[in-house]
Symmetry: C2
């Protein structure tokens, strides 16, 4: 190197070394403490309806989802990879209304939705009304990464997922006794508002990048190709490194009309509200006053987060760098 050849540049070499050390320290000090927050749906979740055995099952699966995401973030993985992995644990499990546990629509079929957003680039992907994709959140990720579009629906989305080499399953894969029983119950009651649970995750990685993703089977006994808020960027999912990452669950029509996920970010950026204040206002005042039930998880760029809901309970949990998984179901 030139520096070594010219002794009079020793001073420069020392200065460069110092600069390098300072830069390295600065780079390390700029590393963010990562955080992962998840939800498994809001609703009539009470200790009366969930016995200890069932509570233990949910706690175990929420903890597993957090642990899987944590291992990715701890290894300097991205927030995007962490939210996908955490959601896939819940998608593969029949306890939640997403993936394997998706509810049945009015035709006795499972139509799944999912979305994802990258806070760094504002890129986003979503699939709606898909029936044979094992992991809808993985498909949403591919739409974001490997297509020029944000939202793909129905058979077209399935064809895209197949071409992308994602795991395709027989529609029968999504059958579970519990979901089918729920379908029969709702059908008998001609009642449209059944279980509305959804799963979601938001993460902040060590590089300070935020990501959000949501996956759902939608509303039980839904008709006419109904699309809820989960695959709608701005309604059920939003992420921007400037503000926060958000994933919602609840009465989707209200979440669309109020552009809830984007509004959390807008209130933070334009009104200077904290993530707690913005999300709390939307869930506990704005939506509540409209008679809309649900909740959300929101995580800001500094690692502050909140998990507000206006229903009796919401499956939820979080893990911070160096911490343990903390999971909750009821209002506490």
């Amino acid at each position: 190197m030139l520096i070594i050849k010219f002794p009079f540049m020793k001073k420069h070499l020392i200065l460069i070394s110092w600069a390098f050390i300072l830069y390295t320290c600065h780079a390390f000090s700029q590393q963010t403490d990562y955080v992962l927050v998840i939800h498994g749906g809001a609703g009539n979740i009470t200790s009366e309806r969930f016995n200890h055995e069932k509570q233990a099952l949910y706690n175990q699966k929420l903890t597993e989802a957090l642990t899987v995401g944590d291992s990715i973030l701890a290894g300097n993985g991205t927030a995007l990879d962490a939210v996908v992995a955490a959601i896939q644990v819940m998608e593969d499990c029949p306890l939640f209304n997403s993936g394997k546990g998706a509810v049945f629509n009015a035709d006795g079929k499972n139509e799944l939705d999912a979305s994802i957003m990258d806070g760094k680039t504002l890129k986003a992907g979503a699939v709606a009304g898909v029936m044979i994709i094992k992991s809808p959140v993985a498909a949403a990720r591919r739409v974001m990464d490997s297509s020029s579009h944000v939202m793909l629906a129905g058979r077209g989305a399935e064809e895209f997922a197949r071409l992308q080499g994602l795991e395709i399953v027989d529609p029968g894969y999504f059958y579970t006794d519990e979901s089918w029983q729920e379908y029969l119950n709702v059908k008998a009651k001609i009642e449209k508002n059944g279980r509305k649970g959804t799963v979601g995750a938001v993460a902040l990685d060590k590089n300070g990048n935020l990501a959000a993703a949501t996956s759902t089977g939608g509303m039980v006994y839904k008709k006419y190709g109904r699309i809820g808020d989960s695959p709608v960027i701005g309604a059920g999912t939003y992420a921007s490194n400037e503000s926060c990452a958000v994933s919602c669950t609840g009465h989707g029509e209200f979440f669309i009309r109020n552009a809830v996920a984007f509004d959390v970010s807008a209130r933070m950026l334009y009104l200077g509200e904290s993530v707690e204040k913005a999300a709390g206002y939307i869930i506990n005042e704005k939506l509540k006053n409209q008679g809309a039930s649900g909740g959300l998880i929101a995580l800001d760029k500094d690692g502050n987060f909140c998990m507000p809901f206006n229903t009796p309970g919401m499956f939820r949990g979080y893990i911070r760098q160096g911490g343990h998984a903390e999971v909750f179901m009821f209002n506490q």
Copy 2:
């Protein structure tokens, strides 16, 4: 009336009469001057590409759409009825990429999207990927008025429209030589960014209610059931009596990721910006900096409106109470 029976109350009667006259004047003065603003898509619209004959055709149809909407608003009709009627004039005409003039997707089919929102109630409706509904905006209106959902997609949305008694057409209805030629051209070039025009309308009625609606055939040669911003409430369409009504046209993926229509409202409510400042910033700075092309029409609750676009042109026009239809195509 008691007042007449007691002469000592004459003074009261006079006071009451005055109060009534004042109230009536006040009620009349509270009536809003209505406004209707429409667009027929933004894009590479220049005088080189559109000869005088073609310009006349567009001007005539935009004027007709404004006139039809105007007659509704003049007769004390609602903003909702006016935006639907104005859009239907454009849907029924092959000049625009909506309804009859919808572009072809990669499979050589026409898949149409539309949405509508009522600023008074925040109710909204949308259909996505429909192939046999003559007027997608009418279907969106029915979703809003006659279902408990906001967004219906594909065959389910078509079944719903049929049950609602809307006009169903053979898919061949949407064939036009021009759209087919465009499809063949784009297919030959394996080029994905063809015509992106869309139609939309925003209106303020005499009762001070705002409404917005959008209708499109989407992106020419689109694949995989791609859904753009037009049927996404908050992205392509938004209305709230608190702020404004917005309808967008352009590169839909960017409009979704930026929740453009809702953001105009959010900036007005949270930052106190005028409709011109909010919409102008989003189109000419935020989206332009992201490399996203398009435009929008936005109308506030006081009748102020703007029609910004960052493309060479946008088909657009407006009419105010007691005024004439004013239509434009190019940047001026």
